[in-house]
């Protein structure tokens, strides 16, 4: 077996690896040995999703939509196509929908069944998004969930919760914060957080500081 080079730093001699670690290693080497997967492909996949695809992609989309009304229109009409203008497309983003937050409507996204999430624009989902507490409560107590994220919305703001499926993935277009006039697309993108694009927080103005 070639190319089996992965060694954890805590893989001290004699100290047994956790069972799950051994199970994964065994399966990986078996798949490689059978010619079912290629080690180079495994490393490329990890590198792609660990360093190349992530919420910075979504942030650029959001910043452009804030600056360019024509782009925003395209984005709200056909998100998959408009997002592809940046070259972001593919797996777990075959059909994307963008939801616009306004002063009167707040959108948030969940996947109650598992972890569906728009990978091309947000990367892989965080643990909390995939966890039982968020999946169970987002649809029954969205305002309570938002408060846990530090977002207390006034009663008159309508909250819409979107349950993702394996076919349709949602991205929230957060409101552009006040005090950001004159910022460039890049500067605006730097303000946009992953959580604001899931719809559990708002984007904060640069001077406001404080919580992310």
């Amino acid at each position: 077996m070639r190319d089996h080079h992965e060694h954890d730093h805590d893989d001290a001699q004699g100290s047994p690896l956790p069972e799950i670690d051994l199970r994964v290693r065994a399966l990986e080497s078996l798949l490689v040995e059978k010619g079912l997967v290629e080690p180079a492909a495994l490393n490329a996949l990890i590198d792609t999703y660990e360093t190349k695809v992530g919420p910075r992609n979504g942030a650029r989309v959001v910043a452009r939509a804030w600056l360019d009304p024509a782009y925003k229109t395209r984005l709200l009409q056909d998100a998959t196509k408009a997002v592809a203008e940046f070259g972001y497309m593919g797996r777990q983003g075959e059909e994307m929908v963008v939801l616009e937050n306004t002063p009167t409507v707040h959108n948030m996204v969940v996947c109650t069944l598992c972890s569906c999430y728009p990978w091309p624009v947000l990367g892989l989902p965080p643990v909390w998004y995939k966890s039982a507490p968020y999946r169970s409560r987002a649809v029954i107590d969205p305002r309570g969930v938002l408060r846990e994220f530090g977002l207390a919305l006034p009663e008159e703001v309508e909250v819409r919760v979107w349950d993702s499926t394996s076919e349709v993935r949602y991205l929230v277009l957060p409101e552009r914060p006040p005090g950001t006039e004159g910022l460039s697309e890049e500067e605006l993108a730097a303000l946009v957080t992953r959580d604001s694009m899931i719809g559990v927080t708002k984007v904060r103005a640069p001077a406001a500081g404080g919580r992310r």
């Binding site: 992965e6 954890d8 956790p18 799950i20 670690d21 994964v24 290693r25 065994a26 399966l27 990986e28 080497s29 078996l30 798949l31 040995e33 059978k34 079912l36 997967v37 290629e38 180079a40 492909a41 495994l42 490393n43 490329a44 996949l45 990890i46 590198d47 792609t48 999703y49 660990e50 190349k52 992530g54 070259g87 972001y88 497309m89 593919g90 797996r91 075959e94 109650t112 069944l113 598992c114 972890s115 091309p120 892989l124 965080p126 643990v127 909390w128 966890s131 039982a132 507490p133 999946r135 169970s136 409560r137 987002a138 649809v139 029954i140 969930v145 846990e148 994220f149 349950d163 076919e167």
Partner: protein, 217 residues
């Protein structure tokens, strides 16, 4: 399917734990579990519905106790077993038995579509399985690039009495897998007639897989 995975509206799951500056993966094994699951998905033996469904079959108590990538691993092992790509013995021992890729079983014929796309399931085919690598050329040749989006059907002569067919990706490339763009994905079937008596009765009709590995060009 009504099961533990269908969590919307359940009570009692506790507080949401939000981790600041969360890494994409928390452990090396999560990286590897993610990668082998994705790469095995490229084999085209199952689609996204099948990989979700298999995780939903995890017993409720185990499901709740398992972390996300533990569920992925659990599902991957079962898909590999159920699609006949690995045997239980192989998974349990961690050792391959036989040098030839297992021929997929007729009970589980996956759609010829990239994972993530739904497609109509094909009727199971009867399989006669000579050693695939010894029949004709090991792979259908041709310029192939890889895309998650669209695959085109190809068919060509691959050896005496044998035609191969399979799926090849079509442009444009999916940037999310751009590093894989030079990887060739084979999930080619072959069908034809046996000529080499070593492989079976001459004249017998055969059908099966050539190879399903991902190859770096």
């Amino acid at each position: 399917m009504n099961g533990i995975h269908d969590m919307g509206g359940m009570h009692g799951m506790g507080p949401i734990v939000h981790e600041e500056h969360e890494p994409v993966f928390h452990h090396e094994w999560e990286r590897r579990a993610f990668a082998i699951t994705m790469a095995a998905g490229f084999l085209g033996e199952w689609n996204i519905d099948m990989s979700r469904y298999v995780r939903e079959r995890m017993p409720a108590a185990e499901y709740l106790a398992a972390s996300y990538y533990e569920r992925w691993l659990w599902g991957l092992e079962r898909l590999l077993l159920e699609c006949g790509l690995l045997t239980r013995q192989e998974i349990e021992s961690g050792r391959a038995r036989g040098r030839i890729p297992n021929v997929r079983c007729s009970c589980c014929v996956a759609p010829p579509a990239p994972p993530g796309k739904r497609s109509v399931y094909q009727a199971p085919r009867a399989l006669v399985a000579p050693a695939p690598r010894r029949v004709g050329r090991p792979r259908v040749s041709g310029p192939v690039s890889c895309s998650a989006e669209e695959f085109v059907h190809r068919e060509e002569e691959i050896g005496e009495g044998l035609r191969g067919e399979g799926l090849a990706a079509r442009e444009p490339l999916d940037p999310a897998i751009a590093p894989l763009a030079r990887l060739l994905i084979d999930f080619d079937t072959f069908r034809g007639e046996i000529h080499d008596p070593d492989l079976g009765d001459p004249g017998a009709r055969v059908e099966g897989y050539l190879d399903r590995s991902i190859v770096v060009e």
